[in-house]
Symmetry: C2
Subunit: 92 residues, 2 copies
């Protein structure tokens, strides 16, 4: 299982991010949704909630593990929130 | 297993919320962390990330299931984000 990183900003559209998460999960991988700041974190968590809806329709349950991670943006170290998303049951 | 609701605002301290989540989990229950708005959602997700650190020290992994939920605040219906948190392995 690979981990694919999806970066989310405050202006990201949660539905589009949710589609990206679902695509990663369908390939049998896990998604790490990274955000910096409250606006971005909010879009990230909404995206995971929407992706969970897609998963339900396809017969699997998406769970997420939130954790802090250090990322570099324009040579500056920032603390990001990473939501590691995976399917508890694989799609049938 | 009961579900205990923990309400989080933009001014909530993530460490305190994390302690509340850990207390619910230790009792063998699940926590539903509710927030309305970006600032509150950010504090909520930080609290879950911190609580996961406590869980690791105690030998269990906390996962969360984000979902939308309707709540009433001062007679007004609001869409909240609920982070349903549970332990994958129970504390040893």
């Amino acid at each position: 299982m690979n981990t694919e990183i999806i970066k989310v900003s405050a202006r990201s559209l949660p539905k589009l991010t949710a589609g990206a998460i679902a695509a990663v999960i369908r390939e049998g991988n896990q998604a790490e949704v990274q955000s910096v700041g409250a606006g971005a974190a909010n879009q990230a968590i909404k995206a995971v909630a929407i992706a969970r809806g897609y998963g339900r329709e396809e017969g699997y349950d998406l769970i997420c593990r939130p954790q802090f991670t250090q990322i570099k943006i324009e040579e500056e170290e920032k603390t990001a929130i990473a939501l590691v998303v995976e399917a508890l049951q694989q799609p049938v």
